[in-house]
C-alpha cells in the first residue's frame, strides 16, 4: 500500500472536533435503555452503556472520521455486579455501624489509585480512532504517589499543595496515555494551575464581599421583624449563594478543562479548547432546571447539547501527517475499576 493514495489528511489546517448526534434519536436509545434496565433489574446496564457510548463516540468526528467505543458488554456486566454488591453492602451497613463508614472511606481512599489506573486502562483500550486503540500505562506506583501521597500532604501544607496535586494528577493521566504506540505528553507546569486556583479564589472572595455589602445595605433597610418572613429573608441569602456556587463551579471546571486540553501534546500535534465560562454556566443552570422540571425526560437533550457545545470548542492543530500512527499490541482489560468508579461516582478523566 502506498500512502499517497490514502485519503488526504489535511496537515496544513486546523481540524475542529464536531458532534453530530441528534436529541430525538438519542432520546429513543435512552428511553429504551431505561426500560430494559428496569425490566432486567439493572443487568441491561452493561449493554445500555455500550450503546450509549458507541452512539456518542460514533458521532464525535475529527477530520470526518468518528471515534469508536469497543467495550464488550459482558466484561462491563461483571464489573457492574461487583460495584452494586459493594455499594449495597456499604449503604446498608453504614446506617447501623457508623464506624464502618470510616473504615470504608479509608479503604476507598487507599484503592483510588488502583481504580483510576484500571478505569483509564479499560476506557483507553476500548476507545479507537481510525481503528487504532488508545493505551494507558498501568503505572500504579506513580498513581499511589499522586492520589495518596500528595493528598496526605494537604493538611500539613494548609491546602497550598492542592493546585500542585491537581497538576500532578492531570499530568499523570496524560503522560501515561498513548494513541497506539505514540505517547501523549503534558506540556504545562504547576504554575498555570496555581494561577488558575488563585484567580478562582480571588473571584470567589470578591463575590462574597460584594454580596455581603449588598446584603448589609438591604438588611438595615428592611428591618427584619421577628415573626414575619423569616423564609423570605433566608431565600434572599440562599439564592445568591447558590448562584455564586454554580458560577464558581462552572468557572473552575471550564478553565481547568481548557488548561488541560491546551497542554496536551501528541508528538507535534496539539489541541485547543476554548470553552466559555458564561456559556458553560448557562448550560449547567438551564440543564438542571430543564431536567428537574421534566422529571428527567430532558436528560437526553441536556447531554446532547452539552456534548455538542464542548466538542464544537475543541480543535486539533496537526503538526504533520495523521496517517502514520502505529497500533500497539495489548491485552484485554476487565471493567471492575471502571464500574465501581461509576457507581461510587468517582470522577476520572482529563
Amino acid at each position: 500500500m502506498d500512502t499517497e493514495v490514502a485519503l488526504a489528511s489535511h496537515t496544513d489546517k486546523e481540524l475542529p472536533f464536531s458532534f453530530t448526534g441528534k436529541t430525538g434519536e438519542y432520546f429513543g436509545i435512552w428511553i429504551v435503555n431505561l426500560l430494559l434496565i428496569i425490566v432486567t433489574l439493572g443487568i441491561y446496564t452493561a449493554w445500555a452503556k455500550v450503546r450509549t457510548k458507541r452512539y456518542f463516540y460514533g458521532h464525535t468526528l475529527l477530520d470526518n472520521t468518528p471515534f469508536d467505543y469497543l467495550a464488550n458488554p459482558i466484561s462491563i456486566l461483571i464489573g457492574w455486579f461487583i460495584g452494586i454488591a459493594i455499594f449495597a453492602t456499604y449503604s446498608v451497613t453504614i446506617r447501623f455501624f457508623p464506624i464502618f463508614g470510616a473504615v470504608f472511606a479509608l479503604l476507598i481512599f487507599l484503592i483510588i489509585p488502583w481504580f483510576v489506573v484500571r478505569a483509564m486502562a479499560f476506557r483507553h483500550r476500548n476507545t479507537a480512532y481510525r481503528n487504532i486503540r488508545f493505551v494507558f500505562n498501568k503505572n500504579y506506583k506513580e498513581a499511589a504517589l499522586v492520589y495518596i501521597g500528595l493528598t496526605l500532604l494537604v493538611p500539613f501544607t494548609l491546602g497550598l499543595i492542592i493546585p500542585y496535586m491537581i497538576f500532578r494528577q492531570r499530568q499523570f493521566l496524560v503522560d501515561n496515555s498513548h494513541y497506539g504506540q505514540t505517547a501523549f505528553n503534558f506540556s504545562s507546569g504547576a504554575g498555570a494551575f496555581y494561577k488558575l486556583a488563585f484567580k478562582t479564589l480571588g473571584i470567589f472572595i470578591l463575590m462574597i464581599v460584594a454580596i455581603s455589602i449588598v446584603g448589609g445595605v438591604l438588611g438595615t433597610g428592611i428591618k427584619v421583624s421577628p415573626n414575619t418572613d423569616k423564609n423570605a429573608f433566608q431565600l434572599m441569602i440562599m439564592l445568591p449563594m447558590m448562584l455564586i456556587y454554580f458560577f464558581m463551579f462552572a468557572y473552575w471546571q471550564t478553565r481547568l478543562t481548557n488548561l488541560v486540553w491546551n497542554s496536551i501534546r501528541l508528538e507535534q500535534h496539539t489541541f485547543r479548547s476554548e470553552l466559555k465560562v458564561t456559556y458553560m454556566l448557562w448550560l449547567y443552570i438551564s440543564n438542571t432546571i430543564a431536567m428537574l422540571c421534566s422529571l428527567g425526560l430532558l436528560i437526553p437533550w441536556a447531554r446532547v447539547r452539552t456534548t455538542r457545545y464542548r466538542l464544537s470548542k475543541m480543535t486539533l492543530i496537526p503538526g504533520g501527517n495523521l496517517n502514520a500512527f502505529l497500533a500497539a499490541k495489548q491485552q484485554e482489560e476487565n471493567a471492575i475499576g471502571e464500574e465501581i468508579g461509576d457507581i461510587m461516582d468517582i470522577d476520572i478523566g482529563f
Binding site: 434519536e25 429504551v32 426500560l35 458507541r54 469508536d68 452494586i84 446498608v92 457508623p98 481510525r130 461509576d342
Partner: protein, 344 residues
C-alpha cells in the same frame, strides 16, 4: 446473483491510514477492492457491528481490519439476516419507532413507581423479618453508642421521677404483651430538644425535654406506645433498608447521571425517603391508638402531646409536607380520629 456495492473507508488496524475502497456483497461473501487492496472474505468470518441510530456502519475482520460505510442502515439492509445480531437489531428497531418509545416511556414510569411503592417496601420487610435478634441487638447498641457520643448526655431528671415513669412504662409494656424485651432510657439533649425515638431491638430513648413537655403521664405512655409501634413493626430496620434500596434502584436507573446534574438524582431520593418516613409514622400512630385502647386509655393523649410537640418545634423549622419526615400534625390528628371511628 445480485451484488450490492458500497463505497467505504478501509482501516487496516496497523496504521492510522484511511483507504477509500469499494465493497461488494453477495449472499455468502464480501469483496473489497481499491488502492491495492483486494480481499474476499466469507460473510461468516466478519462481524457486522449492530446498528445504533444513524451511525456509520462497521464491518470488522478477524485480523483487526475494519471497513466503514457512510450509510449504516443501507449496509444492514444489504447483509443477510443470519449474519446480523438479531436481538440487538430488534432493540434498534424499538429505538426508532415512536409508538414503541411512547409505550416504553409509560411502562418505565409505571415500573419505577411500582418498584418504589410496592417492590422496595416488600423487599425491605422480607429482609427485616429475617434479621436475627442478636444482630438487631448489636445494631441497637452501636447506634445508641454513637448517639451518646455525639448529641446525648446523661439525664438530669430526679431519680424518683425516672423510677416512677419506668414503673408506669413497665406496666404498660407488660399488659401490651409485645415480642421484645424493652429498655427505656432517659437522656438530656439540647440539640434535639423534646423528642423520643426507637432503636432496633427495643431500645426507646426519651429526652428530658420530652418528659417535661408532658402535662400528664398518660401522654408519655402514648408516646411510648407510638415508639413501641416502631419497634414491633421493625420500622428502623425497614426504614433503613427501604431508603438504601430506593437509592440502589435510583442509582441503577440514573447510574450515568453525572456531576452537576446529580442534583437531579438526589431530589427524588429525598422525596421518596421523606414519603417512606411519613408512612412509618402513620403506622406507628395507628399501632399506638390500638395499644392504648386495649388498656382502656384514650388515644386523645397521643393527640394532645403531638399538638404540643408541634407547637414546641414550630419556632425551629417548618418544611412543606412533601419534604417533611413526619406527617403534618393536623393530618396525624385526623388519621387518629378516623381510626377511632373504625374502632367504635
Amino acid at each position: 446473483m445480485a451484488f450490492k456495492t458500497f463505497t467505504a473507508v478501509y482501516y487496516d488496524g496497523i496504521t492510522s491510514g484511511r483507504w477509500p475502497v469499494e465493497i461488494q456483497f453477495n449472499d455468502t461473501h464480501l469483496t473489497i477492492t481499491g488502492n491495492g487492496i483486494s480481499r474476499r472474505v466469507p460473510l461468516a468470518d466478519v462481524r457486522i457491528e449492530p446498528q445504533i441510530g444513524h451511525l456509520r456502519g462497521q464491518i470488522r475482520f478477524a485480523d483487526g481490519a475494519m471497513c466503514e460505510v457512510e450509510d449504516g442502515k443501507a449496509l444492514m439492509r444489504a447483509v443477510p439476516a443470519e449474519h446480523q445480531q438479531t436481538t440487538l437489531s430488534f432493540i434498534h428497531r424499538l429505538e426508532n419507532k415512536l409508538h414503541y418509545i411512547a409505550i416504553a416511556l409509560l411502562l418505565s414510569i409505571i415500573i419505577i413507581w411500582g418498584l418504589i411503592e410496592f417492590g422496595v417496601p416488600y423487599a425491605a420487610r422480607s429482609i427485616a423479618d429475617h434479621i436475627p435478634l442478636s444482630m438487631e441487638q448489636s445494631m441497637g447498641e452501636q447506634v445508641l453508642n454513637g448517639m451518646d457520643k455525639v448529641f446525648l448526655e446523661p439525664s438530669d431528671l430526679p431519680a424518683a421521677r425516672v423510677s416512677q415513669l419506668q414503673a408506669e412504662f413497665a406496666k404498660f409494656i407488660h399488659n401490651n404483651g409485645g415480642s421484645y424485651h424493652y429498655r427505656i432510657l432517659f437522656r438530656k439533649s439540647e440539640k434535639i430538644g423534646a423528642n423520643a425515638f426507637a432503636l432496633p431491638s427495643g431500645i426507646i430513648v426519651f429526652t428530658d425535654d420530652m418528659v417535661k413537655l408532658a402535662k400528664d403521664d398518660r401522654e408519655l405512655v402514648a408516646v411510648l406506645a407510638h415508639e413501641m409501634g416502631h419497634v414491633e413493626e421493625h420500622h428502623t430496620l425497614r426504614h433503613v433498608l427501604q431508603d438504601s434500596l430506593a437509592v440502589i434502584v435510583l442509582v441503577m436507573i440514573t447510574g450515568d447521571v453525572h456531576s452537576a446534574s446529580s442534583l437531579v438524582a438526589s431530589i427524588p431520593t429525598l422525596l421518596i425517603q421523606a414519603k417512606f418516613s411519613r408512612q412509618f409514622e402513620d403506622h406507628a400512630d395507628a399501632y399506638a391508638a390500638q395499644a392504648l385502647q386495649k388498656q382502656g386509655l384514650s388515644q386523645h393523649w397521643l393527640g394532645t402531646i403531638l399538638a404540643r410537640l408541634e407547637e414546641n418545634h414550630r419556632n425551629q423549622q417548618s418544611l412543606p409536607n412533601f419534604l417533611s419526615s413526619h406527617p403534618s400534625t393536623p393530618e396525624r390528628l385526623q388519621h387518629l380520629r378516623a381510626l377511632k371511628l373504625h374502632a367504635d
